[in-house]
Amino acid sequence: MPCPQRQFTSTSITALLGNGLLCLFLAACSATPDTAQTDSRDPYETTNRQVFRFNMAVDSAAVEPVANAYRHSMPEAGKTAIENHLDWTGLPATTMNSALQGRFENAGLSVLHFAINGLTLGLAELTEDPREVKPQDFGQTLAAYDVPQGDYLMVPLFGPNTSRSLTGRVVDAVTNPLSLIKAGGTATVVRSLQPPARVVVVRARQFEAINDVKYNAADPYARTRSLYFQGRAGRINARVGQPTANRTSDDLFESFFEAEK
């Protein structure tokens, strides 16, 4: 009789280990005194800044050079195949979260795209318009149920999050049906390579933008935090059907003109 632990695939073990590390990190976070905080959404700023420095060091030592090599050395067809495959592996999470949010059309479309592109394991895009499926994560689902975003957390290797979006990432990782399928050695290796490949692809896609923050900002940490909050708010707004509403900016500009009167 097989040992119960063998029921876990290596990816789910990786996810559990990652989640355990995240829990340890959260336990290690110490609140920054109010006077030292530069943003009320960031109560662990001192710890977060230390983690950010660590992440930047990892980026300089490994991620940036690999992403740069990927941009310049990988043929376009190879890049397209890898990116298609990574997008395809995210479709089950989109299906689940779209359904939980009551966005059944998006859920149906993602099932359709997953099934059709599954013929090539997502390496080739066989559907007409891949952009018609809007990626959804569990963090957005929590936002749909008015769960507060929580505190800002800079997580080692995972980057910026709020406690709500971090919970979403954990839930998406654990519930992804692809990670639960038992498969042979090659499939396991492919699945293990997906998280680092995703990091490299995202870094390569936003190479100039991330470098601009990293090398040109007077305070890269604060700029990253601002970009994260605004970008995340944009995705949450898109979920509620207002993709072009930027309420944060609207409020700030209104307050500014009120104060100038």
């Binding site: 905080q37 530069t38 943003d39 100039e208 601009d212 040109n216 900002a217 007077a218 305070d219 940490y221 604060a222 700029r223 935090r225 601002s226 970009l227 605004q230 970008g231 708010a233 944009g234 707004n237 993709p243 072009t244 509403a245 930027n246 944060t248 900016s249 609207d250 700030l252 500009f253 209104e254 500014f256 003109f257 104060a259 100038e260």
Partner: protein
């Protein structure tokens, strides 16, 4: 002759007074609303005009751009000074700390920020090549601003279209000028403000620390 009050007299009187008041309000609104709508339309037209002029100016420069750094610097400087409201950008970008800054600090900050903006555009100039701005719609945002929305698309089709919004200040007694650019719903000015506030707060509210940090970054480049 004494007046007789029927049971319906009071409700009828109240109703007729209420109806009269509502009619009066509607008439007043009909007189006031068209004027404000005309003003809003004029502000939207002014905002569209400044964006169209800037996009056309940039297009004509890009079509002849040979990569000469000093020509780029001259063009970017002229365009920023012409189309952007730099004094308001400077005030917004430091939030409440503007009031605490001395006049000398304000002047130094204005110039430092202007140079930082010029440097950012010049350094990223190559990314602008091949892009075309297509406006989609314009929205009035309060009494002071119009948001002109559209997208940048790559003529070669290699890059995906990028959603862009220009916040334009439209004063009643002045020229419309650009205050902010939103790219994919991320405001460049709000980002700048939040970064600046973090630097000042990390230095116990000292405005000069921001200027020093910005100058140090400019010198390092």
């Amino acid at each position: 002759m004494s007046r007789t009050f029927t049971p319906l007299y009071v409700p009828t009187l109240l109703f007729s007074r209420f109806f009269g008041a509502v009619s009066l309000m509607i008439m007043l609104m009909m007189m006031v609303l068209p004027a404000s709508m005309v003003r809003a339309d004029a502000r939207i037209d002014a905002a569209n005009a400044v964006i169209t002029a800037m996009a056309s100016d940039m297009d004509s420069y890009l079509s002849t751009d040979a990569g000469d750094a000093s020509a780029r610097l001259t063009t970017v400087t002229r365009m920023l000074d012409t189309y952007f409201d730099l004094p308001t950008i400077a005030r917004f970008s430091v939030g409440p700390y503007w009031r605490a800054a001395s006049s000398e600090e304000r002047q130094t900050y204005n110039e430092t920020l202007r140079l930082a903006m010029i440097g950012t555009v010049v350094n990223n100039f190559d990314q602008l090549k091949g892009l075309t701005f297509t406006p989609t719609d314009s929205l009035s945002k309060g009494d002071n601003m119009v948001l002109v929305r559209g997208h940048f698309s790559d003529k070669s089709g290699q890059r995906s279209p990028v959603m862009v919004g220009w916040r334009v200040i439209t004063p009643d007694d002045g020229t419309a000028k650009i205050l902010d650019v939103e790219i994919e719903n991320i405001s460049m000015l709000v980002t700048q403000q939040q970064e600046n506030l973090a630097i000042i707060r990390q230095n116990q509210g000292r405005f000069g620390a921001l200027i020093e940090a910005m100058k140090a970054k400019q010198t390092a480049k």
